[in-house]
Symmetry: C2
Subunit: 356 residues, 2 copies
DNA sequence: TTGAAAGCGCTAACAC
DNA sequence: GTGTTAGCGCTTTCAA
């Protein structure tokens, strides 16, 4: 990168052939190259440590073999498994990943601009916090740019989308509690009233509500604390529940659906600090299943976010598009969350009453 | 990216000027461009939605304004704060980041090759698990390629290195326990015997040992369990301690220096399952300070890894190199860990004996 | 089977 | 001030 780089011309001269011949052997078009020449060229390439300039190649092929990965919360380590999944399929196919973090729509648009000028072959957009503003993505589609979107819910079914079944996760989590015999099921939701709204939060919350109502119970407003997906939010929510029901402990929720495991960890801590036993005094179920979920006290019953799969599915769709052209119709794939029972919900509630 | 792209030539024609004039206004060399023409050009650029081809520009400028970020454990979310730190300084400077994960030396070499052929302007290598094999990095330096290394300990002081004071972290953690009055301090180390060795593990362990010996005590082998930096490793280590000292509980460590908070969380769980109270029965101090450390039960006393700073320091050095040329001498910066006392070590040990 | 030459889209002398 | 032009390093017809 420093001193004068050796070019295909140098190789050609040294090997006593033309540049086009070198190009042919390097690109495997050696159908029409005698193996003697081929041999010679390869030797020289080795000798000179020749490294083809991919930029120059991209210039003429008008492809860069790189895709842009745009996400809006680099602090959220949830995106790590996504990258991982994307990487697993794109790397073997010879693609590179350029990362761009774009915390808001403005910077997302800017990121798209620069990545396009960088000639990336396609995009994957992934939202941890889904927003509804996506006009620029529709325009991007209209420009014919290949891309797929993870967790973004764009209102255009000509755009490939990997979606997460947040509603189902909230519903299943709550059903589990219901099936265990619980009837007083509170919830610490995500930021359901934020602007722009967080779809995951709204959907998980609806899941809770509908499971309860579908069971013939009432989803009481006093059973709801609105959280913010942070550890602290989870911690504080418990405090709010406690003071809200301080005067009538009997009516306090005996089970909690907490919309994220981050908050659930905070809640577990608060419950412990308050001297409440989980699951005996209060059961807890979360969503997310980060690596630590198995080692909380008690271990969290939860539903795992399908992030690696989201990444690899998106990458597959994009790769297909890039290699075989745009498919006739876009896909809209909804991934569901895998339930794992651990300790935080305990067994049947009220505890063993029916068995004893 | 799809249809025939509009080029600088199109803009020039439409504006009735030459390409070089367009180039000048686009690159801010408008010292010698009349503002009337400038205006006109800008309008046309707008009209045509002209997007300069950065590849073509890179081609002639022989710079790409992108740097390669190579790390070897994409699963380890520790690298997130590093990216964040790097991003914070490189993004504003107009640089892009290309990610490459390289789990072993072979793939690291391959990644370097492709990134070089992609003409990245420089590299940052970051190791979560430091290895000692780095010959290829020395060669890279000899090729004049700008790069800086995080947590890699390359034996060449002409290479810029951001290092972490693992020894100091182990030492400080143990000192804290000692200062609290503990004399039976066990440790769950990282993989100190792995091949290749994990420097962080070895150093943190030495820190433990030297703190103890420096205090006039003996670093007894039976106080050591070798872990592996996993949650499960931490969980299992506690079981091993318990059975090792089953017959003589008095001699069992009353405090534990655990070389990573991941393991510490596992250990806390195991301790809880075994009915041992932390910190009353056994104190725990870890290293890492991930976001959850504040919400473990009990909250972890630990030392924070300086990852964001490592990232931004590395980026600054690289940026300086890229803009002002290689500095006369390389830097070797050692970052220390910030101590945070929380609940897992409790107060003076033996508990309040001297005060009562 | 091999080579010559025309670009890919842009920048930067250099000329006018 | 503005335009002409020679490449940057490579691929790819097309001819030989």
């Amino acid at each position: 990168m420093r001193q004068r780089t050796t070019t295909i011309r140098d190789v050609a001269e040294r090997a006593g052939v033309s540049v086009s011949t070198v190009s042919h052997v390097l690109n495997g078009n050696d159908g029409h190259v005698s193996s003697a020449v081929r041999q010679r060229v390869l030797e020289v390439v080795e000798d000179l440590k020749y490294r083809p300039n991919a930029i120059a190649r991209s210039m003429v092929k008008r492809k860069t073999a790189t895709i842009g990965l745009v996400f809006n919360e680099i602090e959220n380590s949830l995106f790590v498994p996504v990258i991982d999944g994307v990487n697993d399929v794109l790397q073997p196919a010879g693609y590179h990943i350029v990362l761009a973090s774009a915390p808001d729509v403005r910077s997302e648009i800017a990121a798209i601009e620069t990545l396009r000028s960088q000639q990336v072959d396609g995009f994957i957009f992934m939202a941890l916090s889904a927003r509804f503003a996506t006009d620029h993505l529709v325009r991007l589609k209209e420009d014919g740019v290949p891309f797929v979107v993870i967790n973004r819910y764009v209102d255009d079914d000509d755009i490939d989308q990997i979606l997460l079944d947040d509603w189902g996760a909230g519903y299943s989590a709550t059903r589990h509690l219901l099936d265990l015999g619980h009837t007083q099921i509170g919830t610490v939701s995500g930021p359901i009233y934020s602007e722009p709204p967080r779809r995951s939060a709204v959907e998980r919350h609806r899941g809770w509500q509908q499971a309860i109502e579908g069971h013939g119970l009432e989803a009481r407003p006093e059973w709801i604390i609105v959280g913010d997906y942070t550890y602290e939010g989870g911690y504080l929510a418990v405090g709010q529940f406690l003071s809200r029901f301080a005067a009538r402990e009997q009516e306090r929720p005996r089970a909690l659906f907490i919309a994220s495991d981050i908050m659930a960890l905070g809640a577990l801590k608060a419950l412990h600090d308050a001297g409440l036993r989980v699951p005996q005094d209060i059961a807890v179920v979360g969503i997310g299943d980060p690596p630590f979920a198995q080692y909380t006290i008690p271990a969290l019953t939860t539903l795992a976010l399908p992030m690696p799969e989201a990444g690899s599915r998106a990458a597959h769709i994009l790769l297909d598009w890039l290699t075989n052209g745009k498919p006739a119709r876009a896909q809209r794939i909804t991934l569901s969350f895998a339930f794992t029972a651990r300790e935080s919900c305990g067994a049947r509630f009220p505890a063993r009453s029916s068995e004893s």
